[in-house]
Symmetry: C2
Subunit: 156 residues, 2 copies
DNA sequence: CCCTTGCTTGGAGTGCGCTCCAAGGTTCTA
DNA sequence: TAGAACCTTGGAGCGCACTCCAAGCAAGGG
């Protein structure tokens, strides 16, 4: 009952296992979570979860008979991906673009892939930048360390 | 004529050579630059440079007899460091703290060193996060690739 | 029945890091 | 000496990603 596109968005469930930001693994064999459970799983606030929905970053979220949100495991998978993309510094607007493409179906396949590849390039560049910065920090810290023990003796 | 603290802030001039953000190497043997030259060197805007000064992120900047800013090589070194710290995601307020410590002199030596070490830890953590994200992206992209060639066949 | 806890909504507010504006003075080139 | 290009200031404004608020509905316990 899934399109291939939907399958691609299902979070590829066996994904790289990194522990969730604010702890709390999901209980097995459950597929309906209240917003406060999702808060516990993701570390996001309820405000933020509702806001994500308002701006179109979430798929349609199921509701209880009284209108309360009931998140599925798939929704949580999507939130995991969103969390990762957020870590890359991707603007929320771009994630919304991506979410829209997912909703539009299979014909956006290639465009989505390109977006992910562009993001990957950005992440690699960012890592390189950070490693560069790390070198500067190491340099500076060792300079402080030296000067602390034996004052002066500049320009290393 | 320099305190050790000032020396530590002098940018350890032979620092790891990464090309400046917006290109343009500094001409050798010059020590007075207008704000627009600094804009060219750093890629920051003149607005931002003045703002940095207002919030206390810069040391005292020299002025021409008519009151225009004249940046020294040391100021540019400091801006390089600020640029690196900015890349780490360090909040501007923390950089201001650091700048204040530098102005306060040698007795803030250890505290400064600790701040740099904390920053280094953050940067390492951030790199790890990004590498984790990179793994997810790789995984997802290869899934898209596979599905593109031979549709369906879920849960990799 | 009341009280607490948790959820709902649209819209307003916050903090950060710039970014720009108006009005005026300075410096350079011709 | 003109004109363009550049510099100065304090303060207001902006875009992003939340973050919070008020007012109200629903369910469960004592």
């Amino acid at each position: 009952m899934e399109t291939t596109a939907a399958a691609a968005e299902a979070g590829t469930r066996t994904s790289v296992c990194s522990s969730p930001p604010a702890g709390h693994r999901r209980p097995a064999g459950q597929d309906k979570y209240t917003i406060s459970e999702v808060v516990a799983f993701t570390g996001l606030t309820a405000h933020t979860l509702r806001w994500y929905e308002r701006i179109g970053l979430m798929p349609h979220i199921d509701r209880s008979h009284t209108g309360q949100r009931r998140y599925s495991n798939r929704d949580l998978d999507w939130l995991d991906l969103v969390g990762k993309l957020r870590l890359t510094g991707m603007p929320v607007a771009d994630m919304v673009r991506y979410a829209e493409m997912v909703r539009e179906g299979d014909h956006t396949y290639q465009e989505r892939c390109e977006l992910l590849e562009a993001t990957r390039r950005d992440v690699r560049a960012r890592i390189a930048e950070l490693q560069d910065t790390l070198a500067v920090l190491d340099h500076k810290i060792s300079f402080y360390g030296d000067a602390g023990r034996a004052p002066a003796s500049e320009r290393s």
